[in-house]
Amino acid sequence: MKLKVGIFGLTSCAGDQLAILNCEEDLLEVFDALDIRVFTMASSGQDFGMLDIAFVEGAVITEEDIEMLHHIRKNTRRLVAIGTCAASGGVATGKDILGAAEAYKLVYGDTMINTAPLKKAYPLDYFVEVDYTIRGCPIRESEIIYYFKKFATMDPHKNQPLPLPIEKELIEDVEEIKDHVINYLPDKCISCRRCVNVCSEGLGVDAISMVGRNWEERVSTPFGSNFAKTTCIACGQCIQFCFCGALKEREYNIRKLEDVLRMKERVVALVDPMILASITENLRTDEPENTHALMRKIIVALKQLGVWKVFNFAAAQHVSLFSTVRDSLSNPDRRKILSWCPSANIWISKHKPEYAKYLDLDHRPGPIARELIEKRYGPVFLVLITPCTAMKKMSDFDAVISTKEVSRLIQKNRINPDLCDIETVSFDKFIMTEPYIDVLADTPAIDGLGDEVVDYAMAFLSKQNVFQKFELPDGTVVRTIDYPDVHIRSATVKDLTKADDVLKNINEYQFVEFIPCLEGCITGGGQYPNTNPKIIKDRLRRMESYNQGAIHWSNRVLKARVYKELEGLLPRTCHDEEVS
């Protein structure tokens, strides 16, 4: 069955379409395998029905371009950007760097030409999801034939494991691409198996495996499906272990991100301090170890980029714990598996569905943060800045940006962190209005939230306690407080392959949490990829020093005050939500 193909040009010199035509006789062979429904340069007539692959050249500049692009995207299964203009905006962006007026003058001098004001040039992926990109100016003829032949039998998807399924139903809807947070680029893969090893033996998740034999051996999900449709829990450890960039997080088009931050109204950012663990491995700063100063610099940088308010995500985590403990201690039929880690939530629902009823989804930090922020400030565009890959699937936020993306944003906009004036800077507040408490509070997620949970339980019960913390042989950390009439036990499971020991005895624990990422959020999927043990130690040290200097939420006075404030604000919830 021939594939239905369309070749289009937006605002372009048509050089890539011409390059295709230049292939002459080689083209005829290609035309045998592909049913070319529309080729703007070579024929007329625009009724093309549903295509399998649309090749589009040119930048998106005019209104017609935008309309045409959306129309094409709606009517094709796969969209391939060809040429530099389609890939990144190309030549036409030159004027945008100078500014249209300047550029105009440079080329035309004082001549007046009647034309509508020039718009900015954008690449295709600014507006729509692009499945594959072939760069070149123009694309090379040998590459054209190579890719045409390749696409005749291979689905041109970013996530392109081999071999591919024949069942068209497996090629998913454009809409489903949103769920797709991990991309695999087979051209960069060297078949080292680290990703498969960590996913299979390290985590017991088995979402990917080595596929094929001999020179053709590659990493793949089963039958080439979207990661989201497999047993993948989006922890991103595969991304951490890949040192070739063959596995990547799904990232926003950076120009789009800049425009959103700058032009949208009431953009607020929730920053997870855990990004400080690895951001200095890329972001240059004079004092990488001074984490508090660095956090303040990042707050300043974000505001320069257009963010209205910057909040501490750790505060949301603490609040989520408050409410977890409050609701669960008073409710005998409580849900006990903490839900702050989105990857662990996916893991429970996909791998241990029989325990899903214990999952306490109502107290996730995201919705709590939004509720409290909007109560104080009204509707906002909520952005989370996090080292977590699984968070990118959460619809709790309007946008989720990783450590890597925020570092790139800061650098691309030439913001030098060391020149940021941090004299009076701190996080904005969404709880606790007292000005003298600097909410540069500690991040609980270095080692799981077990300590804090037990702490808060203690605070709520406000009694003397005997607190114990010990580690089981398989690495699970257990914390207990014991006194005459109450017995609190929490378990933090770090090795998912040994989780059954705790799950089978779940009734012995009041709180349980699971942490897929191998060293916790320090090696989250959104951190800079690094598995060097020394560097991981450095990261841990950095975060521990951050915590030491921060106000401890274990401070009883603080807790009591927060508790009073929240008591009125947070409604008691019922337990009826689904995990996506």
Partner: protein, 432 residues
């Protein structure tokens, strides 16, 4: 004049012998060995096999006695026995011949092995391409079960043993002993660097004995005639007989069983193989696809393992492939490396990339498009593969190429100049 010595293939001497008929097997003395083994006990059986000094006939040549001792010693059960019928080495037809001629011999051999090492479950790993045998095995296993030669409490010995036939699916590398374990467990057949030996931790992480079909088929004879009786045949280091697969440009290609040390390679080719088909022998592939390409001068070596080792050669899986004067050695080397490039499991880079690149270079050489540096590059890659590959496939894949380069350098030089003396290679042409 060399003559065959038919121990394993003794059924060929019997007119009208029906391989699938257990009564025919019993009539010629079948299952007497099992009875004798049961009489004397498992310890005795292991001892006799050790005394026989029989070496593995799959290609590695490991002493079967050591393996058996090692597995017999293991307490943790259940234990497993695997008969390696993956016979993928190019030019090898001996295991197929045994199974076509006298399959009960293998079954009895396996049962004695199970008795000796206290094993309850055996597998026959039947290569995928041998389609006819799995149903045949099912039929003969049923017969064995019905006569209590298989199943529970075999011949009142207390031994429970049964056999499952596992069909391979087309992968030469599954003949490698760590790959065969992966395959039986339901995974891709990629070899593993073993921390613990297979005899301690093999299939399903349990003690496992992996033996070649031919090696196992020798067990009944060893038991009946004793280890000393077996040792009396052959030479000190190569005891017993071997079934040699003589193919290629010969008049009577086939599998022939000879006593070790009773003849030279040349005699095998001339007396049993019917001599070269053509004018003269140009070269011989000794051992299999992973063997060496040798010149006619080397054919006077006595057919034993030690004589081969003395010349830095190996008998491999008993393969002798003869090439006549019309052959192009570079073409042969290319075909063999292409085989490995296709069969490489892909796990380790030296083999995955090495076989691919050397094959490519040889292809270019055959089209007259390679230079001296390319050949040197190929040699370097081959060296890396030899030392850095994690399994036998990668380690021996370059042997034909390296030996060809050493023994037939002039042919490579001609191709570098753009000529193929045999007029086989597509000089200046396209693919092939």
């Amino acid at each position: 004049m060399v003559e065959e010595k038919r121990l394993l293939l003794s059924a060929r001497n019997i007119d009208g012998y029906e391989p699938e008929n257990i009564d025919h097997y019993l009539k010629k003395g079948g299952y007497e060995a099992l009875k004798k083994a049961i009489q004397h006990g498992p310890r005795w059986a292991v001892n006799e096999v050790s005394k026989s000094r029989i070496r593995g006939r799959g290609g590695a040549g490991f002493h079967m006695g050591f393996k058996w001792e090692s597995v017999a010693m293991q307490r943790a059960g259940p234990k497993y026995l695997i008969a390696n019928f993956d016979e993928g080495e190019e030019g090898t037809i001996k295991d197929r011949t045994i199974v076509e001629t006298d399959p009960f011999l293998l079954i009895e051999g396996m049962t004695i092995a199970a008795y000796a090492m206290d094993i309850e479950k055996g597998f026959i790993y039947n290569r995928g391409e041998y389609h006819v045998f799995p149903p045949m095995f099912d039929r003969i296993l049923q017969q064995a079960r019905s006569r209590n030669y298989l199943g529970k409490n075999i011949l009142d010995s207390g031994l429970d043993f049964d056999i499952e036939v596992v069909k391979g699916a087309g992968a030469y590398v599954c003949g490698e002993s760590s790959a065969i374990l992966q395959s039986i467990e339901g995974r891709a057949g990629q070899p593993k660097i073993k921390v613990q030996r297979t005899s301690v931790s093999g299939v399903f992480d349990k003690p496992t004995c992996v033996n070649n079909v031919e090696t196992l088929s020798n067990v009944p004879y060893i038991i009946m005639n004793g280890g000393d009786g077996y040792k009396a045949l052959g030479t000190l280091q190569s005891t017993g007989t071997r079934i040699v697969s003589i193919t290629g440009h010969v008049n009577y290609p086939g599998a022939y069983e000879v006593e070790m040390g009773s003849c030279t390679i040349k005699q095998l080719i001339d007396d049993l193989g019917g001599g070269v088909k053509g004018c003269s022998i140009k070269g011989v592939l000794l051992g299999g696809a992973s063997g060496s390409l040798i010149t006619p001068d080397s054919l006077d070596i006595k057919y034993t393992m030690e004589d081969a080792e003395a010349e830095n050669l190996t008998l491999g899986s008993g393969v002798i492939v003869v090439f006549n004067e019309k052959t192009c050695i570079v073409d042969i080397a290319h075909n063999l490396m292409g085989f490995f490039a296709h069969e490489s499991c892909g796990k380790c880079t030296p083999c995955r990339a090495g076989t691919h690149h050397i094959s490519r270079i040889l292809g270019e050489l055959r089209r007259g498009r390679a230079r001296e540096e390319d050949l040197r590059e190929a040699m370097k890659i081959a060296d890396t593969m030899d030392s850095a590959s994690i399994c036998g496939l990668g380690k021996t894949a370059s042997t034909p190429f390296q030996s060809a380069l050493k023994n037939f350098r002039d042919e490579f030089d001609s191709h570098l100049r753009g000529e193929c003396p045999g007029r086989v290679c597509p000089m200046g042409g396209d693919d092939r």
